[in-house]
Symmetry: C2
DNA sequence: GGGGAGAGATGCCGC
DNA sequence: GCGGCATTTCTCCCC
């Protein structure tokens, strides 16, 4: 447990030095900006990063309960029985007030990290997999390009079938839902209109599809092709074997 | 700076006590599950919550760079020059390996928080505002219900205009985009089909709309009604005055 | 648990 | 900056 005096002093010093700041405290929080939120007293963990991002975490759950984006200004003022942290981001008109009653611990340090994460197994990887293995979609499918840009959105994969019909493919790495069908339909109708062709096929390529989405596909004469998600599953199997 | 021995001991003890754990370290991270990711060596801050949620934060940015959801198991094993933290969630088949080279600080404490956040200014508030002030949509609009459930999705607001035409309203609290128009169109066509009526109006109610979305609305004979976002803006103005 | 949709969504890319 | 869209989206609600 820190005194509020010690906390105030350390906080101001760390902020000036551009440190990453971490502390746990008992506090009350009010937010106003895109929406408005209120959170009564409880224990939370607060991070302020070197880019002045602020995150407030409750003791459970994945997401921060409150947050402020980078380039936020943080002002600490000590009162009788509490410390007020006022975080403001005027450029996006957002305000966060944290009334801090007790500080359980405080730490700060200049952290350095120049690495960027590498991710495989995204929808883009799935589209590339289809480009390399076009027969997944249908016999003699000839893909033309990927990420075709139209005024009504970007098409994942685009090509011709063996009868020279245009085919629009929308990939989903997990479940195909109503939203995915709507999206596919939008692209198909845009292509029909812009090219003046009546016969354009639309294919939803995903591992599985919800019943309502399948019904909607059929209502609009679109097609479902079962495509397994990208091959990160093989790697998962490998890692699982390694772990067992 | 902690020795890896001290860190290992404290970590295991804190985990057993169900504490919230916070530490900063130099580490390397590999993830395998829904996708796969790799992150080379750098400084990160790691939280493990009492529900066994794990979050990894880089020194900048809003979102965790890696994470594991609640009920994940965390196993620490000490090697020669590093400590390996293996986090597994078998029920969702997700695996995270963190190779920890240096520990800058470690802290743990049992945190207590029973409060739930209260938020105002959501799309639901906007729908309720329209229900109470139906003339926003059109003259003599008579709303029937909110959140009408159809097989093709849930309709925000639903009612009749002065000529007894059915009106489907979709609210967006910020910008109306292609997705919103697709969504509205899906509902309108579903209602037409299920009720066997040709004349159903579709209204997109939002503060602003993108040019392409407006074009698409017109293409499908749908309507745009400018509706201001919920009145949290008044509160923001109040707070802004307070702060100035 | 699945389906559907919002979120103070965020982040990325492209124009 | 906006627009369009994926996200290891997450979270909530309802069936």
């Amino acid at each position: 447990m820190l005194t509020l005096e010690n906390f105030t002093e350390q906080f101001k010093d760390s902020l000036k030095k551009n440190h990453s700041i971490i502390f746990s405290c008992e506090c009350e929080i009010n937010y106003s900006g895109r929406a408005e939120s209120h959170l009564l007293i409880g224990d939370r963990t607060i991070l302020i990063k070197s880019d002045k991002t602020l995150l407030v975490h409750q003791p459970t759950g994945n997401n921060p309960i409150n947050y402020m984006e980078e380039h936020t200004s943080h002002l600490l003022t000590k009162d009788e029985d509490f410390v007020m942290l006022q975080s403001q981001n005027l450029s996006v008109k957002e305000f966060l007030d944290i009334s801090i009653k007790k500080v359980y611990f405080f730490h700060s340090k200049l952290l350095k990290d120049n690495e960027k994460i590498q991710i495989v197994g995204t929808e883009r990887d799935m589209a590339e997999h289809i480009m390399s293995n076009p027969s997944i979609i249908c016999e003699d499918f000839k893909p033309l390009s990927k990420e075709e840009h139209t005024k009504y959105g970007f098409i994942d994969v685009f090509g011709y079938d063996k009868n020279n019909n245009l085919v629009v493919v929308e990939c989903k790495r997990y479940n195909g839902d109503l939203k995915a069908v709507s999206q596919l339909r939008r692209y198909v109708e845009k292509i029909k209109k812009s090219r003046g062709i009546e016969q354009v096929r639309g294919v939803l390529a995903c591992p599985k599809i919800s019943p309502n989405a399948l019904k909607m596909l059929e209502d609009w004469s679109l097609e479902f092709v079962r495509v397994n998600p990208p091959n990160y599953l093989e790697k998962f199997d490998k890692q699982q074997q390694k772990l067992l």
